[in-house]
Amino acid sequence: MTTWNEYAEEHGTLPEWPYPIRYEMESEIAADVLIVGGGVAGCHAAISAARQGAKVVLAETGNAKRSGAGGAGVDHWHGACTNPCSQVTPLAYTQACMDSAHGYTNGIVRYIVCNESWDTLLECEAMGVQIRDVHDEFKGADFRDEATKLMFAYDYQNRHVIRVWGFDIKPRLYSEMERLGVQICNRTVVTSLLTDGGRQGGRVVGATGINMRTGEFYVFKAKATIIASGGAGRLFSFAPEMTAAGTMSNMNAAGTGHAIGWNAGAEFVLMEQTGPGVLAGFGYAPYSMGNCHNTYHGVSIVDADGKEVPWFDKFGRQLQSVEERFLPGPGQPFHLGPGIGIAGYLPQYHVNDLTADLAQRIRNGEFKLPLYADLTRLSELERKCIWGMMVGNEGKTRIPIYDTLGRGGFDPNKDMLQAPVMAPENYDVSCFWVGARMPTVRSMGAGGFLVDWDLRTSLEGLYAAGTSPVFGAGCHGESHTMGRYAARKAAAYARTRPHAPIDRRQVEAQKALAYRPLRQSKQGVGWKELNAAVARVMSDYCGRYKNEVTLNRGLSLLRELKENEGAAAYAANPHELGRTLECFSLISVGEMVLQASLARKCSSAHLDFSRLDYPQMDPVEWQKLLPIRQEEGRVAVRELPLDFHLRAPYAATYEENYRRVAAASAGRS
């Protein structure tokens, strides 16, 4: 007996809710530093703040031991420009990111990460994460440094992306949090930020939340708060019955941090950027199908008759050997590597890839489907590294892929793993397991909190860390690094300020909203129906193409969902209650995306942003950031140059800004 259905059928009765019900019970939890979100950014932030001597509370929707997008593991670590083997400087890497994104990414974060991600990785090593080939399994490989035993990915010459055995990185962070006395509040859905005097735009002084197992209400009181939560993976599409197995963003990704920040009056940028929803989960189990992207970078792809698909560099030169796939070619100072939160790369920084006209060559019969990933064509060490080191440590691969396919009899020394069978145009991205592109499904882009050189948001007392909450921020290692950095700043701030009083009216209002779904008629919609309706509004009215009318209609429809069906939504237990409250977060994030889209009155190739009423692509006068916030419930928009981080009040260079902030808090975690 395993499922609820089996239990009910065997017993003829329903199992009672297994946890004590504590509706309406309230607990106050005080901290110097409160962290919202227990993914890798939040956990590393908690460790860093605790090492600064702060009393730390971490609130997490799941269980921080394994939760978050990075909770299922990691196999490579980007931006480690200060590791002893790196041939790339922090400045060169930062500039490559900024140029590739045409300015629409976060120079502050990129530069901080390049300077500190190696130090952050060393901290992970000290916690027990394997980051070197200590067992000499790969001795003599092109990608290994014999002195340090470090191993590198994508660009074996410049050596700034480090391969790591990170399948257990989350439990190791968790143990360290426990050792340092961090108070971990698992199963907590955070519902709002509390502000000084309850005023939108005031200093952030705490938060409210609900326990998803017991329904208990929490009032968090904090001198400083760090948002380290996930993205809004359920915003543009919601079909978990079909997509949960295929996505890299789990159900907890409801954009909670964005939503509570928006409602507290914080400023956001680039929320108008969305992209094709390739990771929305309508494809295949991640990494389960033949491909040559990311973790599988460099694998040979062959067709049904065993004919190999050629590799090219991004200047159109055909590569002659397997070894060249891992090296920059003429005119390429270094490769940046995929998966760092940048929509496109300049050719001089782009990794090598399959021939760009593969779709056409499939159509004209040159390559016969299905395609296969043939790992046997790699050197033994390369094959062993991809299958066993990378697949085996990357998120959702150790049990789901390495263990499962191994049990099924797959042997990379003998077998070729089939790619999905799809329409030819879907092979133009070599990450084949994401499947066919769904034209109506979008996913969030680089949007997030606007932050300064302290990773502080526009609100006093509120900091942000992590790939999702901070605009233009990167990947797994970047999240750790931001958490570690933001926590130093937040802890330093907390040392200078006492607790502010909590505004009781604000708490009571939040409490009433939090318990409303329990008091409704059972005829009210459930959370899944509500979520699906939000996703429908977003995909229709804020999809690939939009105009002033559709965006305004989308806003009206979201408001209706909030005030009518949402206000009457029914929840039967604490789990459904938590998921229902997350739907209100999704509505807030949706409002923000629609408002940001209204504010940008142009189209942009760089942002994959199409306004039918303003079709001109990237006119010079619109090449800027448009920070949006709420002020007394009304939306306020201002303008900010793309290089705001190198203008007053900041210094004119990356080095000088970084020196200043480092000097301002000499303590290192």
Binding site: M1, A72, M251, A285, Y372, R407, G408, M416
Partner: protein, 116 residues
């Protein structure tokens, strides 16, 4: 064939997430405790395997299995719609295999790199 037939809802998703082996599972609920999305609930009967209540919220990360102290007590079950897609071809013989096939090739027992 004389058992009582109940009105039951359809299974909530075209997947089950995982399967417990009641001979090996001790009902310690370590998996329940660690699951990021609370897919499972403790069984009302002590020492029995947990109940999969929300299979549609499982994102197939494997945390339950990594946490499980009893090797083999939990098996991940990818949706059949995905298992049927995971195919491979043996290069030398041209044989086709797929995940979950009836007479699979012998398991590949090579441990992952790192020795853990």
């Amino acid at each position: 064939m004389s058992q009582t037939v109940y009105m039951m809802p359809n299974a909530p998703a075209p997947s089950r997430g995982m399967r417990f082996n009641p001979q090996l599972c001790t009902g310690c609920n370590s998996c329940v405790e660690v699951c990021p999305t609370d897919v499972m609930m403790p069984n009302p009967e002590k020492q029995k395997p947990p109940l999969v209540l929300y299979p549609e919220e499982c994102w197939f990360c494997g945390a339950c299995i990594e946490e499980c102290p009893c090797d083999g007590a939990i098996r991940m079950l990818h949706p059949l719609g995905q298992n049927i897609s995971v195919n491979w071809k043996r290069k030398d013989t041209g044989e086709y295999f797929r995940l979950g096939m009836k007479n699979p090739p012998p398991p590949n027992t090579t441990p992952p790199s790192g020795g853990r």
